[in-house]
């Protein structure tokens, strides 16, 4: 827009600028141009000074309405105050001195247009950038929102996660705690502690049955763990529930107090039932006064723990059962009369009952049972292990005879036994009885034989002796015939006496005691030992012919026979046997002394033990001395022995003297 008088310059319609035609609009005065400011947009505004300050005012208006159009002020004379006001008030782009050459004018216009286009592009850019800014701002905002949301979500899941984790940690701790407990009290105690977190909960009650009539209750009564039992049964519920009024009444009856509200959960006894063939059942009951709403977390809480509790309680119940089984077995074995021990392949004792030994562990069976350093003679264990089925043997320990039954144990389905159960049956007495019976039978058989022989011999002996007596009557006295017949008569008489002795000796046990003298007994016995005494020198010194003793003669005879026979056997080389009798202090003493090697200290204490023998197997039963001792003691006497110098043993029998009534 050009405002003013353009002449002398002829203003074209259009001005070329940057390949476009810019229209030039010309108005003569500011007042004429003013309305255009609001209706058209201008790229540049040129104003010629008029006489007044209209031009400046217009420029100020233009600045306000179209600030993007650069303003050029043209004046014939440029006053300093006008320039200052132009810059300050209207921000005039150029001040030009009028008139000026056409070329100069077009250059100024070009500049101005350029300026305007720069403004335009700048403003465009600004607009663009501000738009972008706005978009960016929006984006940032939404992003922030998203971040916020996200953060919230993360925070939430974090919390949830933490909650879950802590719950799990809690459960793990619970498991750990349960696992380390070995009694109902401890486990219920842990549960009790956990339940405390919920208020309004009672202490847990465990009820279980193991197939019997009894129902056991484990509960806390005024804070103390208590076990009670009941003989009345009530079916346990099979699922977690609020118990039926009947069950509540049952519990109330048992505990003798009201049960208002409770929650019961069945407990699965998997392990225990394996052992008890599915006869065990249990429930856990928790009294409470929870509202409907409060019940849900509690049930959840219980659900979380029920399996764990079941497992722990099951385990404890099983342990209790097993230990009570094992306790029962132990008691059974301890209660047995016979020693019993389980030994391994190395004779090491694995277990043993009390009868076996009180100090058996870490020992071999022969060490602790027999006090030996190697296995007992007659031990059936090796054979039992080799054969794989039970074997029996006999061992001797401290004068007792044990029949050992060895039962091999096959563990883990193996084919070779790894353990042997040994049962030690003390057969000392029965064997003694058996051998005594055998001895009696032997004596009985000898008696019968002797009876038969005596009969067979007595007949001809009677004839012989009688005939000799008859012939003696007929033979002339002092003749050789008479003397010969005399010898025959004597010999038959002696034979008769020996037979009689033999008969007496071999009589059975049930003979009455009678008054005899020790000397008589000795004299009757010695002839029966003639062959045993043959190689030894015999000294007989009898001085008790006047003193009676009250005994069963044949038994005392057997004792004397035994002692003399032993003495003869003890003397390997020809020696001296002394048989003496005397009376001292109302006692009749018989001494039988040999010159054998004497009795060693090791066997001194065992000499009178039944079955103790130093003779080879089959040569003695080991009963002789023990029977002698019991016979003498039966007569109220004693039998002892001592070694004599330089070597030999003297047995002394002391019997009470008995005066005839």
């Amino acid at each position: 827009m050009w405002i003013g008088n353009a002449s002398p310059i002829r203003l074209p319609q259009f001005f070329p600028f940057q390949k476009r035609e810019v229209q030039i609009i010309h108005r003569a005065s500011c007042s004429e141009a003013l309305p255009l400011l609001t209706t058209q947009k201008f790229s540049s505004i040129l104003v010629q000074q008029e006489s007044n300050d209209e031009a400046l005012k217009f420029l100020v208006q233009a600045r306000q309405i179209q600030p993007m159009a650069p303003r050029i002020f043209m004046a014939e004379e440029l006053k300093e105050e006008d320039v200052q006001a132009g810059i300050n008030r209207a921000q005039v782009y150029r001040f030009v001195r009028w008139p000026l050459s056409e070329r100069e004018l077009w250059a100024q216009l070009e500049d101005s247009l350029q300026r305007h286009s720069m403004f335009l592009s700048r403003s465009l850019l600004l607009r663009e950038s501000s738009h972008q800014n706005k978009q960016l701002e929006a984006l940032t905002h939404s992003l922030e929102e998203m971040v916020e949301e996200r953060t919230q979500y993360i925070e939430m899941s974090h919390r949830e996660e933490a909650e879950k984790l802590s719950r799990e940690r809690y459960l793990i701790r619970f498991i750990k705690e349960l696992a380390s407990q070995s009694s109902f009290e401890e486990i219920l105690g842990i549960l009790r502690k956990e339940l405390r977190k919920f208020h309004k909960l009672g202490d847990p009650i465990l009820a279980y049955r193991l197939g019997g009539e009894k129902t056991f209750f484990l509960s806390f009564q005024s804070g103390n763990f208590t076990q009670t039992e009941s003989l009345t049964t009530f079916p346990f519920p099979k699922t977690p529930q609020i118990p039926s009024p009947e069950l509540m009444r049952y519990l109330a009856n048992h505990f003798g107090r009201p049960f208002i509200k409770a929650y019961v959960v069945p407990i699965e006894l998997r392990l225990t039932n394996h052992l008890l063939s599915d006869n065990g059942e249990a429930i856990l009951c928790v009294e409470n006064s929870l509202s409907e709403k409060e019940t849900i977390p509690f049930v959840e809480f219980m659900n979380d723990r029920m399996r764990l509790l079941s497992m722990a309680l099951d385990r404890v119940l099983l342990e209790n059962q097993l230990s009570s089984f094992s306790y029962r077995w132990e008691k059974t074995f301890d209660g047995m009369r016979d020693p019993i021990a389980i030994v391994d392949l190395e004779f090491q004792i694995v277990r043993a009952n009390r009868k076996f030994s009180d100090r058996f562990l870490q020992h071999k069976c022969y060490e602790s049972f027999a006090g030996r350093t190697e296995k007992c003679v007659g031990c059936p264990v090796p054979e039992a292990l080799a054969e794989g089925h039970s074997q029996t043997g006999e061992i001797q320990v401290n004068g007792r005879v044990y029949q050992v039954h060895s039962y091999p144990v096959l563990l883990d389905g193996g084919s070779r036994p790894t353990n042997v159960v040994n049962q030690y049956v003390d057969i000392t007495q029965s064997r003694e009885l058996y051998l005594r019976m055998l001895q009696n039978e032997k004596m009985g058989a000898i008696g019968m034989l002797a009876g038969n022989i005596a009969h067979e011999l007595n007949n001809p002996l009677t004839g012989l002796r009688s005939l000799a007596q008859v012939l003696l009557q007929e033979a002339p006295p002092d003749s050789n015939l008479h003397a010969d017949l005399m010898e025959i008569e004597k010999a038959t008489a002696r034979s008769q006496r020996i037979i009689k002795n033999l008969l007496d000796f071999s009589k059975g046990e049930d003979q009455p005691s009678q008054l005899v003298t020790a000397d008589e007994i000795i004299e009757r016995t010695l002839p029966m030992l003639k062959s045993a005494l043959r190689i030894h020198r015999t000294e007989v010194d009898l001085a008790a012919a006047e003193s009676n003793i009250f005994v069963e003669p044949h038994l005392l005879q057997q004792v004397v026979f035994n002692l003399i026979n032993n003495a003869c056997q003890a003397m390997k080389d020809p020696g001296r046997l002394r048989v003496a009798s005397r009376v001292a202090d109302q006692k009749v003493i018989i001494e039988i002394e040999d010159t054998g090697p004497g009795i060693s200290d090791e066997i001194k204490n065992r000499l009178f033990e039944p079955f103790f023998t130093t003779k080879k197997e089959g040569h003695g039963t080991g009963l002789g001395l023990s029977m002698s001792k019991s016979i003498i003691e039966k007569f109220g006497g004693t039998i002892q022995f001592h070694n004599v110098k330089p070597h030999g043993t003297c047995f002394t029998i002391v019997l009470p003297q008995k005066s005839p009534q």
Binding site: G451, A454, H455, N458, N459, P460, L461, T462, G463, L464, R465, S466, L467, Q469, V470, L471, Q473, E474, T492, Q496
Partner: protein, 117 residues
């Protein structure tokens, strides 16, 4: 008097026989129970020495077969004294019991003769 000696042991018979004959008695010997029973029945003796254990009939069996014998005295002899004694012998119908072996045959003879006094 007439004496019957029943014993399976020849020496016993011989010695009794010799001793009795020396005292002037008539003696008949029998070697077992059957023979003794036959002799007893043929001529009832005044006195019988009767052994217990013999082949054939035993002494007590012979006594049973003979039945009541009021004219004969009987002395029962046994080498196995355990089963018999004076009492059981008398229950069986004997007058005297003598255990074998004899200590002195003449004492036996005089005991036997004593039965008739």
């Amino acid at each position: 008097m007439k004496v019957l000696v029943v014993d399976d042991e020849v020496l016993v018979r011989r010695s009794l026989s010799r001793a009795l004959k020396a005292n002037g008695h008539e003696v008949i010997e029998a070697a077992d129970g059957n023979e003794g029973l036959k002799a007893w029945k043929a001529t009832p003796p005044d006195l019988v020495f009767l052994d217990v254990l013999m082949p054939g009939l035993t002494g007590p069996e012979v006594l049973k077969e003979v039945g009541p014998h009021p004219t004969s005295k009987v002395i029962l002899m046994s080498a196995f004294a355990g089963d018999h004694n004076m009492e059981t012998a008398q229950q069986m119908g004997a007058d005297l019991f003598v255990p074998k072996p004899f200590e002195d045959i003449f004492a036996i003879i005089s005991m036997a003769e004593g039965l008739f006094r």
